[in-house]
Amino acid sequence: MKQKLDRILKDILKIEADFEKINTNNTAKWDSLTHLNLVLALEEEFGIEITPEEIEQLHSDYSAIIRFIENKIKAEVI
C-alpha cells in the first residue's frame, strides 16, 4: 500500500520527497485542488468511495492517509 501511495503522491505533487514526512502544512504544492486530485486518485486506485466529511480527515499526513485507506477497505469488505 505504501508503494502505491508514494506513487500517487509523486504523480500528483510532482516532487521527490520522503513522503512519510510530508503533510499539508509543510508542502506548499499540497493545496485544495491538489488534495481533491489525491482523493480521486485514492478512490480509483483502491476502489473506495471518500465522502465529503472524510475528505477533511485526509488533510493531516501520510500515516493518517494509510490508516484511513486500511480502515475504509476493511469496512467495505465487511
Binding site: 493545496d31 485544495s32 485542488l33 481533491l36 486530485n37 482523493v39 480521486l40 478512490e43 465529503p52 475528505i55
Partner: protein, 131 residues
C-alpha cells in the same frame, strides 16, 4: 433541466483583459466577498451563455492559487440546475466532489451556487435556480 450558464475565466485584471477580448460588453460587475474577487459578467449574445471574468483581489481569494499557478485562463464551466435535489442527484451519479457551497452569490441575485470537481479533473459551478 441542466443548461450551460457561463464560462468562468480567471484574470489578473478585468479591464486589461477586456481590451483584447473577443466579447467585451459587460452586463454587470460586482465584488464577491466570499470569493474575495471582483467579478464581471460579459455578454456574448442573446440566448447564449455569458463569460464570467474573475479577478482575485488578494491571496485569500478562492482563485488566487489558480492565478499564481497558471497565470489565469479557463477556470470552470457553470450550469443552471433546477433545484438542490437535482444537483445532489447529479453529484452522486457523476461522482463530483463538492469544493464549496451551496452559498448565496451576489452576482446571481442571491441565488445559491456550488463549486465541484469532476472525475475528469475539471472545476464546475452550479447555479440552483429555485434557491
Amino acid at each position: 433541466m441542466i443548461k450551460l450558464s457561463h464560462i468562468g475565466i480567471v484574470v489578473e485584471n478585468i479591464e486589461e483583459y477586456l481590451k483584447n477580448a473577443v466579447c467585451s460588453v459587460v452586463k454587470t460587475t460586482v465584488f464577491d466577498s466570499i470569493q474575495r474577487s471582483r467579478i464581471a459578467l460579459v455578454e456574448i449574445g442573446s440566448g447564449q451563455p455569458d463569460i464570467e471574468l474573475i479577478e482575485p483581489v488578494d491571496d485569500e481569494a478562492t482563485t488566487f492559487n489558480f492565478l499564481e499557478k497558471t497565470g489565469g485562463g479557463l477556470h470552470h464551466l457553470c450550469y443552471d440546475v433546477d433545484s438542490e435535489e437535482e444537483l445532489n442527484e447529479l453529484l452522486k451519479q457523476r461522482g463530483i466532489k463538492r469544493i464549496f457551497g451551496p452559498a448565496e452569490a451576489v452576482l446571481f441575485g442571491g441565488k445559491k451556487i456550488m463549486f465541484g470537481y469532476t472525475r475528469n479533473r475539471e472545476i464546475v459551478e452550479f447555479i440552483i435556480i429555485d434557491s
